[in-house]
Symmetry: C2
């Protein structure tokens, strides 16, 4: 056991603060990582504040968009060596033997994947602590290789926001010339625009906010359409092959389904607080699908990181020191970030 | 013009009655068909009674599950000759040049397909009249070839109930060993069970009514599961590759989505009267899809008829004379039919 520094939430209503954390030793298949950057995902806030059905186990150390350097490896580790640049995303382990794990879909592990924080390791008793920390130990199969070609602070959010948008674009086979619409321009939405554009799609940002048009353009969107204008929504009927819906606020699915072509699919990545209504005819006419997608498997996450390195894609980030984390939470909730806060973990040592 | 005998509805509240109908002449590309049998679809009732948003144009002659013999062909007709056994389904024409028509998806014709009744021909002014009639004239591209190997009264419902269930099973690539669940054992449901079984799938009937177990078994279902038993529903979590949902009454989509495997799809064929609620998490966990499907294209309808001839599949029917049609409507609404009424059109001549 070793003591590391971390920022943790101790109660739902209190701000996060510094904490000395006992961390597991480096096992034979483990990789020890000094964390350089950790992105701030909206899930961190929900968990820190116990907003997901009382599931938070305090103290909780959030953070699952982790980039760092390998500082030690166990004797059986073959993929990584000390000094390598690596990443860790939303998962740190899974059973690795069920049908879904065998199919490289560890996020749907039938025995329950181990989330990077506020979860249990596969022993089902050791609680996991995330990336708002000076270091982390992860079994090598859940450690990703990161190219040094890209600025590492911009790579961190790829580990969650990047793979969450990359995976559905790949699964539903987005290719050159396809018409992709993205709903919601936040941490997920801005990555969906960049990735779909890099895949050769014709990308439209659908938004309620005219002031987002300029940003959409600079991110690589080919079109910007206001969804608040009924004339627009009528004109756009039957336009898109796929709609990536990143919105977590309540909204009308049917209005967007109407914009799909025959055989089009709308993929939900965000979780509105309450169920939405859907009429069967919205799907029956045009043989449309409403689907969901959750992060992505480890193999696909590596593929995504390699794709981003090849195409020079990173997240647009605002780097903060760890002691600004509570302020960053407030600004994230207010939508006042373009488009992801990333903690410079060097600030934790000071 | 020629006068034919038909049964029509004249007002929403009044029973259907006999009618002399002026029918269009046989054009160069038309096929004239003497109708032998016509199935009774629930849509017929909704239309006769003007239950679809006031869209019924009286007098209306329902019926879109038509089997008959060719009695005349236009000079440019090449696919059919007098004496051929043929069928007509839910469509009698479409623009035949839009992207969807080119893709053999005439049911989604961008310029509007011509429904077999209570619709307009492509001239957008000639009203169409359906199969409760001694004969019908249809452009040859919308006439299907019917094998004489099967009892024709059982073939009639294939033209709507058959293709409506065959098309999604094919589109979502159901194959040997796949686990298919069918919700609702009526006109559509009983065809879904027969067709999925013939495709080699392991078929489960999901029902609220224990008395349907015996029928499900005789139709070819391998399993019968009561959906009213919470223990059952828990045990069946993650079981099925595809769920064919034929129910038109209000029901909880999420309870069924929970029974899908990773990447599973639930296909809606029925239209509940009001929108249903759906929570994004029902789709996100397991990357599931909720989709819809509408009849099928002409090419696929022919493929379905050929498949049924090859596998000896027909609908289970109760044959009635035309003057029992109003009683048949009441019994259809009450669910008192196994599983489709079919009108013997010879009774119209008496």
């Amino acid at each position: 056991m070793k003591t590391v520094k971390a920022y943790a939430a101790f109660e739902a209503e209190k701000p996060l603060g510094p904490y000395d954390l006992e961390r597991r030793s480096v096992g034979a298949k483990d990789v020890e990582i000094e964390i350089l950057y950790c992105g701030v995902c909206h899930s961190d806030i929900h968990t820190a504040r116990n907003e997901w059905g009382g599931s938070t186990m305090y103290p909780v150390v959030p953070g699952h968009e982790i980039v760092g350097k390998v500082t030690a490896v166990g004797q059986e580790v073959s993929k990584f060596k000390v000094g390598d640049t690596v990443g860790v995303g939303c998962m740190v382990d899974s059973c690795q033997k069920c049908q879904n794990c065998e199919a490289d879909l560890e996020q749907f592990c039938e025995n329950g994947m181990s989330g990077t924080y506020n979860s249990y390791l596969q022993d089902k008793k050791t609680i996991t602590y995330g990336g708002y920390s000076s270091s982390i130990v992860v079994t090598e199969n859940f450690v990703l290789s990161v190219s040094d070609k890209l600025p590492l602070e911009g790579v961190a959010p790829l580990l969650c926001a990047g793979i969450t948008t990359y995976s559905p674009l790949r699964h539903w086979n987005v290719k050159k010339g396809d018409k992709v619409a993205v709903v919601g321009l936040g941490g997920l939405g801005h990555m969906a625009v960049k990735l779909a554009s890099a895949m050769g799609a014709e990308v439209t940002m659908l938004s309620r906010s005219p002031e987002k048009a300029k940003d959409a353009d600079s991110l690589g969107a080919h079109h910007f359409e206001l969804t608040t204008d009924p004339k627009n929504m009528k004109r756009l009927k039957g336009s898109y092959d796929i709609i990536i819906d990143t919105v977590s606020a309540s909204h009308d699915y049917s209005a967007y389904l109407n914009l799909l072509r025959t055989d089009g699919v709308m993929v939900l990545l965000g979780v509105p607080p309450t169920p939405e209504q859907i009429h069967a005819t919205s799907l029956i006419f045009g043989r449309k699908s409403l689907a969901g997608s959750l992060i992505g498997g480890i193999k696909e996450t590596q593929e995504m990181l390699d794709f981003c390195a090849e195409h020079g894609i990173v997240s647009d980030v605002e780097v903060i020191p760890i002691d600004k984390i509570n302020e960053a939470y407030e600004r994230t909730i207010a939508g006042d970030v373009h488009y992801r806060f990333v903690i410079d973990m060097a600030s934790l040592k000071k």
